[in-house]
Symmetry: none
Subunit: 247 residues, 2 copies
């Protein structure tokens, strides 16, 4: 089994730091990395400034195998992520003919200097095809520069994740007939005993189901998941488990 | 006028990085700092590890006047923010008799070693009284160590903000019907002419809205904001402004 890489993320966004926009890309990235069993080690939100981005990307690359940036990719004055990543990598920014070709193709040949900025990339970058989008994702030596617009971020993120050696995560579910307050103590103990296992608790408020809360335990190592679930089976209030399922 | 300090934040939380909990404290901090006109320069989410916390706090202190940490304050083994901040400050962790007294007062004298951990702090720390809470906030040389539980974080944050000089920020928004490529030149000119004003450009890709890009201008000096917006009104392509709003 190839072990999964570790990840770090840099959210580029004055708009996030000034409360104009609530970041959605960080939380999405967190969830999707977890789905793939890729541990996220560090995530920073930085202003749209070349040196702030460069510093964060350099640190991220030092502590993790792959780095995602979100935002600061585009045609306007405040889009400086490409410059920041170039500084972090110690390479110049160059115009990529492959991207220029994509841009001219999409705009029937006539493009402004502003749009042409999208063809700039740190030297040595490569492009990933993105399902559902005409614009490729930009990669450079395990650093992925994704756009800030959530719809585009999401598409490009999936293109990147397809390339990374994920490890299938083992998921087990317990369905219980009591509400969260009655099972909280057992959950707290299990979470403390298995801090590496992702333990989820999902109450529902629908009629006609035979359980009140669905518990999930996830980890790349199935033995850890089983050990946690068995601890829950011993410590949850007697008779509350409706059933146990492999997810 | 005392100019407001700059701020940086360190969110301590494995539970955030593993998608078990979506962080609420970061977004709250962002909003409340903006209300007070205190620029947030940087925000990182790090695991519950002494060295990761120490590294982030040291960087935060280097680039901002005041630093907030969220989480990792508590009685259990994985609460290591106090240790991390102590490493960042280069001081030992000591037991603070003032906190011990508060703890014993609240628990009628009998407290466990686990609870007593709450009396540990980086040497030189001071306490701030918190409205609505018996437990004080912990400060040490412009670094504020706030708990992760959102209700407590919120109370302690307000206690800290009361101490900091703030200035309200003026925000104006322009909604335009053209995409970023078409308005990039006017934006670049405005950004160059008003380098001190925070100018933001936020395209969306949703249906049913009457604009394509939202532009924002922010500064503590309302006259600077108005001057920039008026330059944009003169230089943006004719007829593209849908409306202008005070934010």
């Amino acid at each position: 089994m190839t072990s999964p890489p570790t990840a770090a993320a840099v959210i580029v966004g004055n708009e996030v730091l000034t409360a104009k926009i609530r970041d959605e890309n960080g939380p999405l990235l967190v969830r999707r990395l977890r789905d793939r069993g890729i541990p996220l080690r560090w995530m920073a939100t930085v202003p749209d400034e070349v040196l702030a981005i460069a510093h964060a990307v350099r640190h991220a690359r030092a502590i993790a195998d792959v780095v995602f940036t979100s935002g600061g990719i585009g045609p306007t004055h405040d889009d400086v992520t490409v410059e920041g990543v170039a500084v972090a990598l110690g390479v110049p920014v160059v115009r990529m003919p492959e991207i220029e070709e994509v841009l001219r193709g999409h705009h029937d040949g006539a493009i402004s200097n502003a749009v042409l900025r999208l063809a700039n990339a740190p030297r040595g970058s490569t492009l990933l095809e993105v399902d559902g989008s005409w614009f490729p994702a930009l990669a450079n030596d395990r650093t992925y520069m994704l756009p800030g617009v959530p719809e585009l971020f999401k598409l490009q993120l999936e293109a990147v994740l397809k390339q990374l050696p994920g490890v299938p995560v083992v998921l087990e579910c317990l369905y219980v007939s009591l509400g969260e307050p009655e099972i909280a103590e057992a959950l707290d103990l299990a979470a403390a005993a298995f801090p590496d296992v992702a333990l989820g608790s999902y109450p529902h408020f629908k009629r006609g189901l035979d359980y009140r809360v669905k518990l999930t335990a996830e980890h790349v190592d199935g033995a850890r998941v089983r050990a946690l679930v068995e601890q829950l089976e011993r410590t949850l209030p007697q008779g509350c488990i409706v059933r146990r399922e492999r997810g």
